[in-house]
């Protein structure tokens, strides 16, 4: 009773907020935040550093044409394959880790009793924890702990992705239409059977579509694993930049863009064909 009274009394600042109406308040808050962040920059120092403008011109003119010699193309294609391989390995491990966690977090395989709260909460907390940390932060920590190797990078990529996939899978399992599940239940199916024959098949198209979208992100993530020393497109971009070979940088960037766009097109086509 007391709690309810506290809850329903409107604080003064919320009354003021009502006067403003929500949309206007949102606009004010967002504009204010950007202005505040702009004022935090040290505008005294020059925007371009010495020679930066010239380097920018050199970089842009190097696009016409980019480096296309056969020997470099072979190297660039090999780097693309390495990046793709890390992305595929990372996302498959993420699915393997994320799916069971997502099933537990959705709570759909347990009965509705009190005992199911603890595993659901634990799985949700674990998923939230692993996805809060960026894959590259995991990578620098894992390299410090385990040393640099392919498995370290795959694990670093897979952990946050498992956290994201698991959470989305859990939501998808919970958001399926309820009538077919009721039909299964009334025919005496256990929660696990309801999951296997009801929730899983109904959630599958969306789950596959989202996983493919994440696969596209994983390619970018695999490319930047170069920061801990993993070979691939990002690694070669860094090397070429250090040697001021801007034509090579363009070739590598265009290959990365092509790789991402192919997977993007694959995933959007697949999503369309899963819906029909």
């Amino acid at each position: 009773m007391v709690l309810e009274a506290v809850w329903t009394r409107t604080p003064v600042w919320m009354g003021a907020a009502r006067l403003l109406d929500h949309r206007r308040m949102l606009t004010l808050l967002m504009v204010g935040a950007v202005v505040l962040s702009v004022s935090g920059i040290d505008w005294g120092s020059p925007l371009f550093h010495t020679g930066g403008g010239g380097a920018a011109r050199d970089f842009l003119s190097a696009l016409f044409p980019p480096e296309l010699s056969p020997s470099f193309l072979v190297l660039a294609l090999a780097a693309s394959w390495q990046t793709l391989a890390f992305a595929v390995a990372g996302i498959t491990l993420a699915i393997v880790l994320g799916l069971p966690l997502g099933v537990i977090a959705s709570g759909s395989v347990f009965g509705s009793g009190r005992s199911s709260i603890a595993p659901i909460a634990a799985a949700r907390f674990f998923l939230a924890a692993i996805r809060s940390i960026h894959e590259l932060v995991w990578a620098v920590l894992f390299v410090a702990a385990f040393g640099l190797s392919s498995l370290t990078a795959i694990l670093a990529l897979a952990l946050p992705y498992a956290g994201i996939l698991g959470r989305i899978y859990a939501d998808l399992f919970n958001n399926v239409p309820q009538e077919p599940l009721q039909a299964l239940r009334s025919s005496g199916a256990s929660p696990f059977r309801v999951f296997l024959y009801g929730r899983l098949p109904m959630a599958l198209p969306d789950a596959i579509g989202y996983t493919f979208y994440r696969f596209e992100c994983a390619i970018r993530a695999a490319a930047i694993m170069s920061f801990v020393g993993i070979r691939g497109l990002g690694y070669e971009i860094q090397l070429s930049l250090n040697d001021l070979l801007f034509g090579q940088v363009w070739t590598l960037m265009l290959l990365l863009v092509a790789l991402v766009l192919v997977v993007d097109r694959w995933s959007s086509t697949l999503r369309r064909s899963l819906i029909t």
Binding site: H22, S37, F86, A145, M253, L274
Partner: protein
């Protein structure tokens, strides 16, 4: 309408099941080859993970993070250090806001011609070669900026710009410009066209159709996407700090290379505080965007 040919030359609309099956098989083959390539290659790390030496090292690393037997007072027991790294956390937050702000302003200025139904004259715009060219141009810029990860943008930008918060924010903004631009253009493509067309019948010009028929419907979606992207950006800001000399990221990298492991754990605590704060703030602001 142009017909779209899917990968492997199978038209998805006529053979959806075949396309799904081919995709599944392709992905499985890719997975087998990738794992095979990475595990067979030198330095797979497979041997390391079964050696007790590596696990000893890992447990020592965790102990050092926790400040067990640290030679100096652990950073997380030192109030002054909390304030110093707190300032960096504020810088990181400012960088993320600036990044998402820059991306949002740029997207607002350019996303309308990137929608197919604006470019072909259904909703403002006009069915002319100029608008069509603009559509392809805007979409190509979205695709390119989106496909290049933030960190690669940062690497390039610190080549030209003085390293600092602004260079990092610009790198983050470039990638998110592509992401948000594509999402916003797709929102317009899926909009209900009737308000804009009613305006047209009432004699509205192109600009009026876009401003009063399209924008009011598209803006709430845009703001929602913007706030979702902010949650991603705050996680990535730390990483961009590795190269662009700003905020927590740079400090994390320095502390790791100087083996100041208790500083590392302090930075990670700040990082988690930032991530959780931004997630909560963004969720609250999204609720504001939804309410009338």
């Amino acid at each position: 309408m142009t017909t779209r040919i899917g990968i492997s030359g199978v038209s998805p609309t006529s053979h959806p099941i075949r396309f799904t099956r081919i995709s599944a098989i392709t992905f499985l083959v890719l997975a087998v080859f990738s794992w095979g390539y990475l595990l067979v290659g030198n330095n797979s790390g497979l041997g390391n993970f079964s050696s007790s030496e590596m696990w000893d090292n890992a447990s020592r690393f965790v102990q050092e993070l926790a400040g067990v037997q640290a030679p100096v007072r652990p950073a997380f027991l030192n109030l002054d250090r909390w304030f110093e790294t707190g300032k960096l956390a504020y810088q990181t937050l400012a960088m993320s806001v600036l990044a998402i702000g820059l991306a949002g302003i740029a997207v607002l200025a350019t996303f309308l011609p990137g929608a197919r139904n604006v470019g072909n004259g259904d909703l403002g715009g006009a069915c002319s070669p100029g608008w069509r060219l603009l559509y392809y141009l805007v979409r190509a810029v979205f695709a390119f900026t989106r496909a290049v990860p933030e960190l690669v943008w940062a690497l390039l930008l610190v080549f030209f710009l003085s390293p600092g918060i602004f260079a990092g924010a610009l790198a983050l903004a470039l990638h998110n410009y592509g992401v948000l631009g594509k999402l916003s253009a797709e929102v317009v493509e899926n909009l209900d066209p009737s308000p804009a067309q009613a305006l047209k019948r009432a004699g509205a010009g192109n600009l009026q159709m876009l401003l009063y028929g399209v924008m009011p419907q598209a803006l709430p979606h845009f703001v929602t996407y913007l706030l979702y992207r902010w949650e991603v950006v705050i996680r990535t800001t730390v990483v961009v700090g590795f190269v662009s000399a700003g905020g927590l990221g740079r400090e994390l990298r320095l502390s790791l290379s100087f083996f100041h492991y208790t500083d590392v754990s302090q930075i990670i605590i700040w990082y988690l505080i930032l991530v959780i704060t931004v997630d909560l703030l963004a969720a609250w602001l999204r609720r504001l965007a939804r309410l009338e």
